[in-house]
Symmetry: C2
Subunit: 116 residues, 2 copies
DNA sequence: GTGATATACCTCGCCTGTCAAGGTACTAAC
DNA sequence: GTTAGTACCTTGACAGGCGAGGTATATCAC
């Protein structure tokens, strides 16, 4: 089943940056990589993806250049910038923190229910 | 530091339901409990909280009744319904799934960076 | 040649959750 | 009588996600 959009909301940027740290890539490919990595349980919608590229580029986290698609449409490649790498690291830290908080507020309390 | 809102976004309902499983409670108290549980690193904003109550009530996940606050303003108490409990369980499962996906897409890939 | 399919990009406009800002009302203490 | 704490609520704006729609190129089948 697909994952509720709001659960991933706010992580889109980090997911994209994570991919770009592994090397330059382009939208279509990143999207497919995500689908594969999650065994088709999650995919970024195109509109979401391209919106995120705009956002990240105007924030100076990534830069882009046109490449030619071999045997297909032209591709716009994206590179992560130094600034993007720093932002990415912060995002990972924030995610770890948020993760802990949510687990505290959801799982732990669910566990405490049993004695009630 | 406070946690970016969007990272928690979509979990508000689950957090509230988790609290109510432990027994009836009211907005102000739930909010304080969250602050304490997270050692002041996270708090639901009032507007967010009350919006969530409306949402959950109209979805049949909770029901409410007025109680009198001893030594303060009147309180509106909330109870989780049977339906709410089921929804809550689903939310926890979804959270576990989302958690795994995000870790796959963020952390794992970050680990792969080192050889690049 | 034309139609289908795959690759690849993009934009518009709506929806939904968050939240700053503002408000109400009661009680206790000074 | 005014300050502080408890407790609730609404409005309006904002931002991210995404459905729906569109563009362009290349390949293969008919």
């Amino acid at each position: 089943m697909s994952i509720a959009a709001d659960l991933i909301r706010g992580h889109t940027d980090a997911i994209i940056l994570a991919h770009l740290i592994g090397g330059d890539s382009y939208g279509y490919k990143i999207n497919n990589a995500i689908k594969e990595a999650t065994e088709n349980t999650y995919e970024l919608k195109e509109a979401t993806l391209y919106t995120a590229f705009r956002r990240l580029e105007s924030a100076g986290c990534i830069s882009s250049y046109w490449g030619d698609g071999d045997g297909g449409a032209r591709r716009r490649y994206y590179s992560i910038t130094q600034h993007g790498i720093e932002i990415y690291k912060k995002m990972v830290d924030e995610w770890k923190h948020a993760n802990k908080i949510i687990n505290t507020l959801i799982d732990t309390e669910a566990g405490e229910v049993s004695d009630k």
